[in-house]
Amino acid sequence: MARAASTRSRIGWTALAWGIGFLMFFPILWTVLTSFKTEAEAIAAPPSFLFFDWTLENYGIVQERSDYMRYLWNSVIIAGGSTLLGIIVAVPAAWAMAFVPGRFTKDILMWMLSTKMLPAVGVLYPIYLICIQLGVLDNRAALIIILMLINLPIIVWMLYTYFKEIPGEILEAARMDGATLKSEILYVLTPMAIPGIASTVLLNFILAWNEAFWTLNLTSVDAAPLTAFIASYSSPEGLFFAKLSAASTMAIAPILILGWFSQKQLVRGLTFGAVK
């Protein structure tokens, strides 16, 4: 009796959860579907959900007209470059804080966190001016460095919380067995640190890919990543719904897939280890 009731309630909860999941996902689903319609079908009333003539022409047009690949490439370079650079700078720092904590380690960590809370708009003009002076407005290298800097606190924090979980006894055991510092790092610590570093890379790649304050304000043509490319669709010109959908789908597809792998890291990374 009780079992029957619980199965029934389970079905009820399942239906509700799927309904809400569908609603949350709907704008994305609708965009993806529209990207396969012709412009005429995209504005048909009432709209057709699945039964239309599927076409790939929008993807071709978007690529042809706006050189989509260039923006994609900029996104890859900027997000990838800033993440890589951030890891290179952050790994030693997080390592030192986790394994050789000093009197000020905690203060340094908190201070790093505080820099993340600086509103970007408060330093917009100086950064803009510095970029002009150095001739690096609309430049990929400049964006790589800026995005690295804004994400550096998150990278250090994430790595720190991961490294912190590596038990110190293992190091001592290795030392007892006569491991040198080099072999200690190479054979003991690195294998244990790799998963944490990988998670950090994943989350920061996503954050950098989606960053839309500096990329919008500091790029125009040459260095513009997908965020800026999509923003150029904000003023509609003629029939454009299907093309906008195709461009949007291409801009979010890679990151949606990466994002699904990074749910756990997201919680840890964005709460600075406060919720695990």
Partner: protein
């Protein structure tokens, strides 16, 4: 335990990160502070290095400043209320034994990974367009008159869009927190005959308090800086000009750098007030 050599090695390892962040924080902020006391309008070639607090006085006495503060408060407040309330409900739902939980979770979380310019444009054109938007089709289906969301209810529309983006974040964090709840305690309460609402109020909610605080603080930090969603929808018109957007307009659009910088410093101060509370919440966890 740490030897002298390892301590100095540790300092050396931290140096690049600390130096970079210090530079990133100090150099531009000092420049903004400097500009905020200057009459600096580069397009007109005006640069007067010291005009005292004139910019601050002008910035805070203008009507657009208070409108912006008001818009910011409503926007952040409403988005927080929506995402936290719905986030708790959704987290409770996803914690239930449901079929295909993993897939539902992916569907719910997906909006968080959509880049801000895309989600704003998708909502503006695909959902809220008065002619072709899905919402208009739904309105028409029920015999109601379609609604031009972004002109007739611009602030609500942006709140809706940003809530959609951040609800997954709140849900995910609250779900993580719920899953760390001790099941035995709940079972014991159930055996003692505590009704669901009481169990929620006296066991689950107190357990979630910390996670809720963190969600509120972190979201506030990010929400104070909402930019792209306004940039591609209303461009700050119709009462959707937040403090961030106002400063952006003063600094880059009208290039009144002195005035904008004063606004920027005010934004920094306001964000810092929130930041202090967040740092306390995070710092507490650091000792544990």
């Amino acid at each position: 335990m740490a030897t002298k050599a390892s301590t100095s090695a540790a300092r050396l390892m931290m140096a690049p990160a600390v130096t970079l962040l210090l530079g990133w924080m100090l150099v531009p902020l000092t420049m903004t502070l400097y500009f905020s006391f200057a009459d600096y309008r580069p397009l007109r070639g005006v640069f007067e290095p010291w005009i005292g607090f004139d910019n601050y006085a002008r910035f805070t006495s203008s009507g657009s400043f208070w409108d912006a503060i008001w818009a910011t408060l409503i926007m952040v407040g409403a988005i927080l209320a929506i995402t936290v309330t719905l986030g708790i409900l959704l987290a409770l739902l996803l914690d239930k034994p449901i079929f295909g939980q993993g897939v539902v979770r992916i569907l719910v979380i997906a909006p968080f990974f959509v880049m801000p310019t895309v989600s704003a444009l998708v909502w503006k054109n695909m959902m809220m367009d008065p002619v072709n938007g899905v919402l208009s089709h739904v309105f028409r289906f029920f015999g109601a008159t379609p609604f031009d969301w972004l002109t007739q209810a611009p602030l609500t529309s942006i709140i809706l869009i940003v809530s959609w983006q951040w609800l997954p974040f709140a849900t995910l964090i609250l779900l993580t927190a719920i899953q760390s709840l001790d099941g035995e305690q709940l079972e014991a309460a159930e055996m003692d005959g505590a009704p669901p609402l009481k169990r929620f109020w006296f066991i689950i909610l107190p357990h979630l308090a910390r996670a809720i605080t963190i969600v509120i603080l972190i979201q506030t930090i990010f929400l104070l800086g909402i930019f792209a969603e306004i940039f591609v929808t209303t461009q700050g018109s119709f009462g959707t000009r937040t403090l961030t957007y106002l400063v952006f307009q003063r600094v880059l659009e009208s290039q009144n750098v002195g005035l904008g910088s004063a606004g920027g410093i005010i934004a920094v101060i306001l964000a810092n007030i929130v930041a202090i509370f967040l740092m306390r919440a995070v710092g507490k966890n650091l000792d544990a």
